[in-house]
Symmetry: C2
Subunit: 216 residues, 2 copies
DNA sequence: GTCTATAGAATGATAGAC
DNA sequence: GTCTATCATTCTATAGAC
């Protein structure tokens, strides 16, 4: 009896993760209201009542999914530093953002949905964590401009262009695929997209792309 | 009695338009499932049953909203022609897309929502009208590249970048506003955004922006 | 054409047995 | 911890009076 809590130490977290994975996919495809806890439970392979045992409400589950996505964004957020070469820093950031769009398209969609609907759940994150990160990166870009290392533009619009363009390949993957004769991007298509995005943005701010594109 | 159908000749269309305007706003804010016909009817100032008199089902109303948005997109679609100067043509297209993002943010959001969820309603439009338009514009851009008038990139990625970036200011307006200290963009901010977007993209493909930016 | 009242279906959440 | 049965609510759509 007393050792019952020593068995299957990670079962609880494994099950929660399975539910979160299912929820990310279902929320991305159907939206918060369009997704039902029944769909998520079915996709996770558990009864609906069991889902409610791990996540008491639909909103608590959704909130966790959105926060997980936000953490993934932030992992790519430390790509550039004031002391780095701007071309390498921006290229590395674009590389990481494109990789995330390919690896986590559903997370990107849930985030986009949340923001488009006025960010009812993650407004605090926008105002604190994202605001602080954005402000600090704008300062880095501005310092590069002040030092004459890149063209003069408002840093915020450069950041928005990078976010919008890289996330387009996740959020609008259905449209991109339809225009690609119904075929999903293969390795070569992803590499070509990443190359062209980096080329246009770097050349756009006066940074010529050489052989070193900040790959990691 | 017999002249009853001569009175208020446009009342029906005016009422349908009021419902469509309300529907665009509510669908943009809450998504297809999140929006209720009751909310739309309230916002349009009519009883719910009256809404169902003009639009028999929620889906029929939504479909009309999406098609209206698509028509707006296409109005900006004839901005560039093979015989035009590429810098002027692309600048004009970006100008128009930015104006639409400012004038019709809700339409852009409904479109984004629809595509993100797999385009269940407008898949036919993607495969026919959008595919044909995109193919023809890719050919125009490719001809400019072949003539050495701009840098070599895959035209589709240039188009996606223009779409993604211009629509970001509509779809993510809540995030943009939060990062703008909670203030919506004023005239100057919109002009600055449009200027920087054009600057980066045109310079990015080797087209220097002069005084003539294709404004209309 | 308009509107009240309601039917009919779907869904989030829980009680309670195991 | 797990799962069946079910409650309570919400929403689309319509019947039928005016």
């Amino acid at each position: 009896m007393t050792n019952g809590n020593f068995k299957k130490p990670s079962t609880r977290n494994q099950k929660k993760q399975a539910i979160l994975d299912a929820a990310e996919k279902i929320f991305a495809e159907y939206g918060f209201k369009g997704a039902t806890t029944q769909m998520i439970a079915d996709f996770a392979g558990i009864p609906k009542a069991n889902l409610h045992y791990y996540f008491p409400t639909k909103e608590a589950l959704y909130s966790q999914v959105v926060q997980n996505i936000f953490d993934i964004w932030l992992e790519a957020a430390d790509s550039f530093d004031q002391n780095m070469d701007p071309a390498i820093a921006l290229a590395s950031y674009i590389n990481k953002k494109m990789e995330i769009s390919r690896a986590h398209p559903n997370g990107s969609k849930v985030w986009a949905n949340e923001v488009m609907h006025g960010a009812p759940i993650i407004q605090d994150y926008l105002e604190t964590t994202l605001k602080e990160w954005t402000t600090s990166r704008e300062a880095v870009i501005q310092s590069w401009i002040d030092e004459g290392r890149m063209d003069k533009i408002d840093p915020k619009h450069l950041l928005y262009m990078i976010w919008a363009t890289t996330q387009h390949y996740a959020d609008f993957v259905h449209q991109v695929q339809t225009l690609n004769d119904g075929q999903p991007f293969d390795d070569g298509a992803w590499q070509a997209a990443t190359r062209d995005v980096k080329k246009i943005i770097l050349a756009g701010v006066g940074l010529q792309t050489g052989g070193d594109d900040g790959d990691h």
